[in-house]
C-alpha cells in the first residue's frame, strides 16, 4: 500500500451528476451528512429535473447535487465546483459549463460507450478527443467494479449496477477523508430489510473507498478541517424541514392546534410530508382536492380556532388568490407558505426563482393588503415561520411566507435553538360581549378593533353570547353587519390598510452591515439571495471595496427605518431572481434609484456575479 500525503483544504465544492435514476441526490445527501458530523460548515444545492425519470442518458435527465464543505463559515454552496463526479456522458456535458479549468473530474469511464456519448450530444468521446486536457481527469470503471462487488453479494450484474452511486460515494469519501461508519450505519438502517440490497450497497461503498486507497490513481487525499462552531447541538437542515418545524413551534407557542390544508406541489410537498408525520403535536393535515380547497379548509379551521396553514408554490398561490381576499376581509389568522419556483405557469417546477413577490403583494382583487415575510437561508425558515404565525395570530390576518426551491431543498448546519426560550404567541380568543348597546344590553361586535393593533376579536364558534355572522361582503365598522354604505366601505379599506401598515411598529428595524461605516453603496435583498450577496460583499471587502449589505425579512410592511437606510447611500443595488420586483417596490415607496441585478436561470446567484455587479456600481460612483 502506498502512503500518500494528506493535503489540507479550507474549502471544497463537489458536484455529483448523473441520470435521474442514478441516486445522485442520495449520494450528495450522504456525503453531506458525513461532512456535517465531521464538523464542517456546509451548504448544499440539489439541482434536479421535474421529470421523475427522464429518458436515461439524456441531458434532460441529468440530476445533480452540489455541496460545499468548509473549515470556516460559508453562506453558499459555491460558485463553481472544484470536483465534478460524473456518472455518465450526459452528467459530464450538462455540467462542464460551470467547471473551471484545472478543476477535477471523476468520471465513470464505463458509461462512455458510443451510444451514451452520442445520446449526450457529444460528437466524439470527450475522454479521448483531448477536450478535457485542461482538467485533472480521473477515469474510474465504476460500473464494472460495482458489478464485481455485487457478484460477491449474489446480485445479478444488472441489479448490482444500481449500487454504483455508493461506489462513487465511497471513492469520494476516501478522497476527502470522510468517516465511513455513519454511512455504513445509514445503509444498514435504510436497507436492513433487504439484506441483499444492503450487502450490495455496502460492498459497492467499500469497493469505492478501497479503490481510492489502492488504485494509485490519486496523488493525494484531502482534508477539510472542522469549522469553528459555537457550542450546541446541530443538525443539517433543509429549508422545508426547518419551516415545518417552525410552524410546529409556533403552534406550540400559541397553544393552538395546527390545521394544514394542502395540495401536493413541487417544491413545497415536503412540508406536507413532514407535518403529516408529526401528529403527536396535535396537527391535522388534510390533503385537499385542489389548491383552493387547501386554503379553504385552512381558513375554515382558522375560523374554528386552529392555526390555519396552507402550503404551495407559485401556481398554487394564484389559485388561492380569491380565498386570500376572503381571509383579508374576514380578518382571520392564516399562514400561506409559498415555496417559489420558476414561472409563469408550470414554468420550472424544480428550479428556484423569486418571482412571486409582486403576486404576494398584489395578487388579489380589491385593496387587499397582507403582511409578507421571507426566509433568507434554509435554517432561517424556522424563525421566519414563527414570525409569520406571530403576525397572523396577533393581527388576525393572512400572512404570506415566501421561501423558494433553493432554500426548500438546500441544507446547511443549524445550531438548534433553546426551545424553552421561544416565548409565547397570544391567541386571546374573545370570551365575552365587547359592546353595550344604548338599551344597556351587552352584545358582541366582531369588528370592534383593538385600538393599538387594529386587530378584530377572534371568536371561534362555541361561546354562547358571541354568535355572529361574517363573510366576504363589506362589513360595517364595528358591528360587522353587511354594509353597502359607500363611506363605510372607504373607511374599512383604510382600516385594513392601516392595520397592516401598523405592523411596522412591531417588527425590528432593518440592520445594515456596513463594516467601516462609510460605504456609499448599499446592496439590499430579500429571501434566498442572502447567502450569495453576503459572499459577494465579503469578496469585495477582501479586495478593499467598501459596500454595505442589508436583507429584508419583512416585505410588507417594510421596516420603519428602511427609507432612512436607503437615503444614506449614494447607490442602491438590488439583486433578485426576478426582473426587479423588490427594486420596483423600493422605487415606488421611497423614490430611490434602486438598481436591479436580475438573474432568472433557475439557480442562485454566484458570489462572483454579485461581486462583479458591486464592482460595476462602485466604478460608477
Amino acid at each position: 500500500m502506498t502512503t500518500r500525503q494528506t493535503e489540507q483544504l479550507d474549502r471544497v465544492v463537489i458536484r455529483f451528476a448523473g441520470d435521474s435514476g442514478d441516486g445522485m441526490q442520495l449520494t450528495g445527501d450522504r456525503f453531506t451528512a458525513s461532512s456535517a458530523t465531521l464538523g464542517n460548515d456546509l451548504a448544499t444545492f440539489p439541482d434536479f429535473p421535474a421529470e421523475i425519470r427522464a429518458p436515461a442518458g439524456t441531458l434532460a435527465g441529468v440530476s445533480a447535487f452540489q455541496v460545499a464543505i468548509s473549515d470556516h463559515d460559508i453562506s453558499t454552496p459555491g460558485d463553481a465546483p472544484t470536483v465534478l463526479v460524473a456518472m455518465n456522458p450526459a452528467g459530464l456535458k450538462a455540467n462542464m459549463g460551470v467547471m473551471e479549468r484545472g478543476t477535477t473530474l471523476i468520471i465513470n469511464a464505463d458509461a462512455f460507450d458510443e451510444r451514451s456519448i452520442t445520446k449526450a450530444g457529444y460528437a466524439s468521446n470527450p475522454l479521448t478527443d483531448g477536450s478535457l486536457n485542461q482538467y485533472t481527469v480521473y477515469e474510474v470503471p465504476m460500473t464494472s467494479i460495482t458489478q464485481e462487488a455485487g457478484k460477491e453479494a449474489g446480485v445479478k450484474p444488472r441489479d448490482a449496477e444500481r449500487s454504483k452511486n455508493f461506489f462513487a460515494l465511497g471513492l469520494v469519501s476516501w478522497l476527502y477523508t470522510r468517516p465511513t461508519d455513519a454511512t455504513l450505519e445509514w445503509i444498514h438502517a435504510k436497507f436492513g430489510g433487504k439484506p441483499q440490497v444492503e450487502d450490495a450497497n455496502t460492498r459497492a461503498f467499500r469497493a469505492g473507498y478501497d479503490f481510492g486507497e489502492t488504485a494509485e490513481l490519486f496523488d493525494a487525499r484531502y482534508e477539510v478541517r472542522p469549522s469553528v462552531f459555537a457550542p450546541g447541538d446541530y443538525v443539517n437542515v433543509s429549508g422545508n424541514t426547518a419551516l415545518s418545524w417552525g410552524l410546529i413551534a409556533a403552534a406550540k407557542m400559541a397553544d393552538l392546534p395546527m390545521f394544514l390544508g394542502s395540495y401536493p406541489i413541487t417544491p413545497a410537498s415536503d412540508i406536507l410530508h413532514e407535518l403529516s408525520k408529526r401528529k403527536e403535536f396535535g396537527i391535522r393535515t388534510f390533503q385537499a382536492e385542489d389548491e383552493i380547497a387547501g386554503i379553504g379548509s385552512a381558513l375554515g379551521a382558522a375560523y374554528g380556532g386552529s392555526l390555519g396553514v396552507t402550503t404551495t408554490s407559485g401556481p398554487g398561490l394564484a389559485l388561492k388568490g380569491e380565498t386570500l381576499g376572503l381571509a383579508v376581509s374576514l380578518e382571520l389568522p392564516l399562514v400561506v407558505v409559498n415555496i417559489q419556483r420558476g414561472g409563469p405557469s408550470t414554468g420550472l417546477p424544480t428550479k428556484t426563482e423569486q418571482s412571486d413577490l409582486l403576486q404576494a403583494m398584489y395578487g388579489r382583487h380589491g385593496e387587499a393588503p397582507l403582511p409578507i415575510v421571507a426566509a433568507k437561508s434554509p435554517s432561517d425558515c424556522f424563525e421566519a415561520a414563527i414570525e409569520a404565525c406571530r403576525i397572523a395570530v396577533k393581527y388576525r390576518t393572512p400572512v404570506i411566507l415566501l421561501s423558494d426551491g433553493y432554500l426548500g431543498n438546500g441544507t446547511e448546519p443549524w445550531k438548534l435553538p433553546d426551545t424553552s426560550t421561544l416565548g409565547t404567541i397570544e391567541a386571546n380568543f374573545a370570551t365575552k360581549p365587547n359592546h353595550v348597546k344604548e338599551d344597556g344590553s351587552e352584545v358582541f361586535w366582531p369588528y370592534l378593533r383593538n385600538e393599538e393593533t387594529l386587530a378584530r376579536p377572534w371568536a371561534p364558534p362555541g361561546v354562547a353570547g358571541l354568535e355572529h355572522r361574517i363573510g366576504g361582503l363589506e362589513k360595517a365598522d364595528g358591528t360587522g353587519n353587511v354594509s353597502y354604505d359607500n363611506v363605510n366601505h372607504e373607511k374599512m379599506v383604510h382600516l385594513r390598510q392601516a392595520k397592516v401598515d401598523g405592523i411596522a411598529n412591531d417588527i425590528a428595524d432593518l440592520e445594515v452591515d456596513d463594516a467601516d461605516g462609510d460605504a456609499r453603496l448599499l446592496v439590499i435583498g430579500w429571501g434566498s439571495t442572502w447567502g450569495s450577496i453576503a459572499a459577494g460583499v465579503q469578496r469585495t471587502r477582501a479586495k478593499g471595496g467598501k459596500v454595505a449589505q442589508a436583507h429584508l425579512r419583512h416585505l410588507n410592511p417594510f421596516p420603519k427605518n428602511l427609507g432612512e437606510v436607503l437615503s444614506k447611500y449614494d447607490r442602491v443595488l438590488v439583486p433578485e431572481m426576478n426582473l426587479g420586483q423588490l427594486s420596483r417596490m423600493l422605487r415606488a415607496e421611497f423614490l430611490v434609484d434602486a438598481q436591479s441585478l436580475s438573474k432568472m436561470q433557475g439557480s442562485p446567484f454566484r458570489a462572483a456575479e454579485i461581486e462583479a455587479a458591486i464592482a460595476e456600481q462602485l466604478g460608477a460612483l
Partner: protein, 340 residues
C-alpha cells in the same frame, strides 16, 4: 355520563336581527322558516351551530340565523366547512348552497366532501336558474332553456343532483321541496341525525327568474300524482289512490307502472340502508326533470366512517403512542451532533 341541559328555545331565538333581503315570494323564505322552526327541536345549542355558505341567493342564509355563520366565496363552502367540521368535531356544521354554487363553480368541493363523508349537513337549494346574477341558465336547467345567456336555448345537458351525490359516494342523499314544510323538516332532521356528509336537494321556486319551475310536481293539486314519496320499508307507491308504483323490469331497469298491472308484490320496497347504491341511483333516474313523477324523500342513508372522526383518531392515537409532541426532541429527530 352527564346529561347536558339544552335550553328551550323558539324560532325567535334562532332568527338574527338582520332584515331578510330575498325577493318577496322567494321559496327561500319557506326554507328559512322551516329551518328556524326546526332548530329548537333538534336538541342543539346555538353557539355550537354554524351555517357556512358560498355565493348566490341561498348563500345569504347564514345572515338570517342567530347562530355562528360564515358567508364565504363562490363554490367553496364545502371546502371551508370541511376544515371547520374536522377541526371542531363538537360543532354542528350546515352548508347552504344553490345549484350554481354546488354543481357548477363548486362541483369539485361538493363531490369530495361527499366521498370523504365529512360531518356536514349540505342543503342545496335547486331553482334551476342563476338568480343573483339575474337569470342565466344553471347546471340543472333543462336543455333548450331560453335565458339571458341562452337566447337561442341552452345546449347544456343538466346534472341530476341526486345522481351526482350518489355517484360521489354520498352516505345520505335526500330530496324535498319548498312547498312542504313538514317534509323539509323531516329531511333536515334526518340529515342532521346522520353522521357524515348529508346531502339534501331542495326544489326551490325562483319567482323572478324561473317562476313555477316545479309547480307541475309540487303544486298542491299535482303532488299526489307527480311526487313519489319514498318511505323506508314501504312499497314505493304514489297517486291519489296509491295506484301507481315503481317496479323493476326483467332487464333490471326501474319503471313507473299501475300497481294493478304488476301486483303489489312486484312493487319495490324502499330500503335506504342498502349498501349497494345501484337501486338508489336508479330511483334518482326515474325522473329527468320536474315534468314527470319524481321521487322525494331519503334515497340513501348508510353508515360509513366519518372523516373528521378518523382524522382526529389518528391524532389522538399518535399522541397516545408517542406522548405529546416534544419540540426539543423533534429538532433532534434527524441525526444531530454536539459541539462542546
Amino acid at each position: 355520563m352527564t346529561t347536558v341541559e339544552i335550553p328551550l328555545t323558539t324560532r325567535k331565538d334562532w332568527s338574527s336581527d338582520q332584515e331578510v333581503k330575498w325577493c318577496p315570494g322567494c321559496g327561500d323564505y319557506s326554507i328559512l322558516a322551516a329551518v328556524q322552526m326546526l332548530m329548537p327541536d333538534l336538541g342543539v345549542r346555538r353557539e355550537k351551530t354554524v351555517f357556512v355558505s358560498g355565493i348566490g341567493c341561498a348563500a345569504r342564509f347564514p345572515y338570517y340565523m342567530s347562530t355562528y355563520g360564515l358567508h364565504s366565496i363562490h363554490g367553496r363552502a364545502p371546502a371551508i366547512a370541511t376544515g371547520l367540521a374536522t377541526s371542531r368535531p363538537d360543532l354542528d356544521v350546515w352548508v347552504v348552497s344553490g345549484d350554481g354554487d354546488s354543481l357548477s363553480i363548486g362541483g369539485n368541493h361538493l363531490i369530495h366532501a361527499l366521498r370523504r363523508n365529512v360531518n356536514l349537513n349540505i342543503l342545496m337549494f335547486n331553482n334551476q336558474i342563476y338568480g343573483l346574477t339575474k337569470g342565466q341558465y344553471s347546471p340543472t336547467s333543462e336543455e333548450g332553456k331560453i335565458t339571458k345567456s341562452t337566447p337561442f336555448g341552452s345546449l347544456d345537458h343538466p346534472f341530476n343532483p341526486i345522481s351526482v351525490a350518489i355517484g360521489a359516494e354520498a352516505t345520505f342523499v335526500a330530496r324535498t321541496h319548498d312547498m312542504d314544510r313538514a317534509h323539509m323538516q323531516e329531511m333536515f332532521r334526518r340529515a342532521h341525525e346522520h353522521k357524515g356528509a348529508a346531502f339534501v336537494e331542495v326544489y326551490q321556486n325562483c319567482n323572478v327568474f324561473n317562476d313555477g319551475a316545479f309547480e307541475g310536481i309540487t303544486g298542491k293539486d299535482n303532488r299526489a300524482e307527480m311526487l313519489i314519496n319514498l318511505r323506508h320499508g314501504e312499497p314505493i307507491l304514489f297517486g291519489s289512490d296509491f295506484d301507481k308504483g315503481v317496479t323493476r323490469r326483467a332487464n333490471g331497469e326501474l319503471a313507473v307502472v299501475p300497481v294493478a298491472e304488476v301486483g303489489l308484490d312486484n312493487i319495490i320496497v324502499h330500503d335506504v340502508h342498502r349498501e349497494d347504491p345501484a337501486l338508489a341511483f336508479a330511483l334518482s333516474r326515474l325522473s329527468t326533470g320536474p315534468t314527470m313523477p319524481t321521487p322525494i324523500g331519503v334515497f340513501r342513508d348508510v353508515q360509513r366512517a366519518e372523516y373528521g372522526e378518523m382524522l382526529n383518531a389518528q391524532v389522538e392515537d399518535t399522541k397516545a403512542k408517542r406522548g405529546d409532541g416534544d419540540l426539543h426532541a423533534l429538532l433532534r429527530s434527524n441525526s444531530f451532533w454536539t459541539v462542546d
